[in-house]
């Protein structure tokens, strides 16, 4: 399993370091031998509305494209279906359903931001305890019992997938970076004030 974690962290580096520790743990979960259940994951329209709204809060439309413009909500659903397994499906759906129960979409902008700010704060605590328990239990314990109900928390999943989906999309790259698919040279340069990142 250590290999797997390293594995994912290397992939993470390749796509720009998008994947932080919690998702690396999630990828470990996939080695627990559960059968593939990719096609079991789908969202209802009500759930899709929540996903779109939260993604748009993370990367809102400003004078440039936002998450919805860049197709991020559909990307999130595709990634969960194809690249994640049961624990993350469960934690993601729980997070979405909690927001439905909390009538998230009925709240005004400030209320929604307050809910998500609280969610981010709670998620940090969850991640800490999640990581501590993993360290304590180590690698020799049946991981099913530990991880069955402990997928990466909803907020971390949706934040990460929103960033990945947006900053690698055509609209997101155009809006955010100096895109140079064929640089033609490599040289040390100076960063000009306010300069955007190069993207290759």
């Amino acid at each position: 399993m250590f290999n797997r974690r390293e594995a994912v962290s290397r992939i993470a580096m390749m796509v720009g370091g998008a994947f932080t520790a919690p998702t690396l743990f999630a990828m470990d979960v996939k080695e627990s031998g559960k059968f593939l259940n990719a096609d079991l994951f789908s969202l209802t329209d009500a759930q899709r509305q929540i996903v779109a709204a939260v993604a748009e809060h993370i990367i809102p439309k400003t004078n440039t494209a936002g998450a919805i413009d860049a197709g991020v909500p559909a990307f999130i659903e595709l990634m969960l279906k194809d690249c994640y397994k049961a624990p993350e499906h469960a934690s993601f759906l729980k997070g979405v359903n909690d927001l439905i129960k909390a009538k998230f979409l009925s709240q005004n902008q400030d209320g929604q931001v307050a809910v998500l700010t609280l969610l981010e704060s709670n998620t940090k605590d969850m991640m800490r305890s999640y990581q501590q328990r993993r360290m304590k239990v180590g690698d020799n314990v049946d991981k099913e019992t530990l991880e069955g109900a402990n997928g990466v928390p909803f907020w971390r999943l949706i934040k990460e997938l929103t960033l990945l989906g947006y900053y690698t999309s055509e609209k997101g790259i155009e809006a955010s970076f100096i895109y140079q698919p064929i640089p033609g040279k490599f040289e040390a340069t100076k960063l000009l004030p306010g300069q955007k990142s190069f993207q290759y």
């Binding site: 250590f2 594995a7 290397r10 992939i11 993470a12 998702t23 698919p181 490599f186």
Partner: protein
């Protein structure tokens, strides 16, 4: 039996080369250029240079999962998943599906990463290219480990020069005994924190730091442009295949060179199941192949055979070549066939954040790193283990991915991620693995693959020398980052990795001084089957700590030169 004379003529060549990867490509080039009619027999499908690189020019958004492997890919490429990058959506099409090409981990784990198509892993390699040093060839004798190399640096030096000029190796001459200089293309640039690191580590610890020496053209000459190769464009998307032919591969360089002689025949989709041994002449007379698609069995005949199927693949062919003379595999009087699997052990790293340098940046995506040559057990340094390690790594600025670990969301957060973040720096070690006869593979007695060939069973584990070395690898990496004044130094020594993870698998048909201790002699000839040459990683008697491909290239060119001179003398 109906014999079609034309067909038989069509299947007879001066030389057969098994495999079209780094060493097979070189064998094909050298043998055809010296006038031989050569068949290269490749087990995998045909990939054409440039047009076959189906993902090379794709934009990030053209990958459905933006590069990440799906659950399905993770299951099918289970060995590849251990590397962390081979099943990536960008270049997965160039790697083999592990589920369809199974192997057995009988004891311990072994990571066997395969690429069955024209060019093999020459399309996918890390491209770092370093000469071995004098001590690398003397170390086995000095340490009483394995078997002595029957060749020395001086035997290899002219051949290193020869292959470097053709391949094109970018790097900086340093005049170091530990890392002999190559014939260089201009070196690539360093970033500002890297220059700082190089200077501080050199000043405070006396360790040289240089640019990685990589098989990329940075100032191509006529020998390169004649083949349609051009300069590196610094996209760092090399593993998708390079449409500029800027890095050395069989497809960009050696196979086109062989093809223009009009003496090369490429045979694809043909798995060599065995070498056909002729008891009367005590030589090999050809190879038997299975068509990977139609299952048709065919034979090809030649005066000499170069086995270049990758270390494990080449040795498994010899193992499967049984005759009444060689019941345990062709040339295996020493029982060394399949033993002494080596690689480079890695996954020991240190990283840090760099304070300052906020106004420094870089343009381009350098497909290369810095290199720190071995300094342990070198000169006066003595450790409680033998041999040593080198490091590869460098500095870059954080990108948008830092956002997942940051607090916040919304308009300001979104805007902040469009600018470069802090500099960070990291180095990982590549350690020498000692030859150990118990690290081996064998043919399964019971399990066969879909072509009816025995599946391979591996037994490999690290020894105490590697494990002790890893402590130093971790400590020394952290020490250098601290010496450079970098902050938040985080070092780790990943436990539980396997031999094979470096994808530098070698050994298993080692070169040695006698038929009693080895499979091939100093000319890479199977000791007593002299028209069979093994010049890929299989022939390695020790592993050094530097990336191995350049040595395979030089060894192949050297052996091809010998083979042709022996043919002319009618010794083969």
């Amino acid at each position: 039996m109906n014999i079609n004379i034309d067909a038989i003529k069509g299947q007879t060549f001066d030389a057969i080369v098994v495999g079209s990867g780094i060493s097979g490509g070189w064998a094909a080039k050298e043998l055809t250029e010296k006038g031989l009619k050569v068949a290269v027999i490749e087990r995998g499908r045909e990939i054409k240079h440039i047009e076959g690189y189906e993902t090379a020019m794709k934009h990030p958004w053209e990958f459905d999962h933006r590069g990440r492997p799906t659950n399905m890919a993770a299951e099918e490429y289970w060995a590849g998943m251990r590397t962390g990058y081979t099943p990536n959506e960008e270049h997965r099409y160039l790697f083999e599906n592990d589920k369809q090409n199974p192997y057995i981990e009988k004891k311990g784990g072994f990571d066997w990463i395969r690429a069955y198509h024209t060019g093999g892993k020459s399309l996918l390699w890390g491209r770092h290219s370093y000469r071995w040093n004098k001590q690398d060839f003397e170390a086995n004798a000095k340490d009483g480990i394995g078997t002595d190399w029957p060749i020395r640096y001086e035997d290899m030096a002219p051949w290193y020069s020869y292959v470097e000029k053709f391949a094109g190796i970018s790097g900086q001459a340093e005049g170091l005994d530990v890392l002999p200089d190559s014939e260089f293309q201009p070196a690539m640039a360093m970033t500002a924190p890297e220059v700082h690191f190089k200077n501080e580590v050199n000043k405070k610890l006396g360790r040289p730091v240089t640019l990685g020496r990589v098989a990329h053209l940075t100032n191509p000459g006529k020998v390169h442009t004649d083949l349609g190769r051009s300069s590196c464009n610094f996209r760092n998307k090399c593993m998708r295949g390079c449409p500029y032919g800027a890095y050395f591969s069989s497809l960009s360089a050696t196979l086109p060179a062989a093809m223009r002689t009009k003496r090369l025949t490429m045979v694809h989709n043909s798995i060599v199941s065995e070498i056909i041994y002729d008891e009367a002449t005590q030589k090999a007379k050809g190879v038997r192949v299975i068509d990977q698609n139609t299952m048709e069995v065919r034979e090809y005949f030649a005066k000499i055979i170069f086995v270049n199927a990758g270390a494990i693949g080449s040795t498994s062919i010899l193992m499967n070549s049984k005759s009444s003379r060689y019941r345990n595999g062709l040339g295996n009087d020493s029982d060394q066939l399949g033993r002494n699997i080596m690689d480079h052990h890695l996954n020991v790293r240190a990283s840090a954040t760099v304070e300052g340098f906020e106004s420094d940046y870089m343009f381009g995506n350098r497909p290369n790193s810095l290199y720190i040559p071995r300094f342990r057990n070198w000169g006066k340094d003595k450790r409680d283990y033998i041999r040593g390690f080198g490091y590869q790594g460098g500095a870059s600025r954080d990108g948008w991915g830092r956002g997942t670990g940051m607090d916040g969301f919304g308009a300001t957060f979104k805007e902040s991620l469009t600018h470069p973040g802090k500099w960070n720096v990291g180095f990982g070690g590549f350690g020498e693995i000692l030859p150990d006869p118990n690290n081996r593979f064998q043919l399964s007695q019971t399990v066969k693959d879909k072509w009816g060939l025995p599946v391979l069973e591996f037994e490999t584990s690290f020894g105490s020398n590697e494990l002790k070395m890893r402590e130093d690898m971790m400590h020394d990496a952290a020490e250098m980052l601290e010496a450079a004044g970098f902050k938040n130094v985080n070092a780790y020594n990943r436990q539980g990795t396997h031999i094979g993870l470096g994808i530098h698998e070698m050994g298993t048909a080692r070169m040695g001084t006698s038929v009693k201790n080895s499979i091939v002699n100093k000319h890479n000839q199977v000791h007593e089957v002299k028209n069979v040459f093994m010049t890929d990683g299989a022939a390695m008697a020790s592993s050094s700590c530097v990336n191995p491909s350049l040595t395979y290239m030089a060894m192949t060119a050297r052996a091809a030169d010998f083979a042709v001179s022996e043919l002319k003398k009618k010794n083969l």
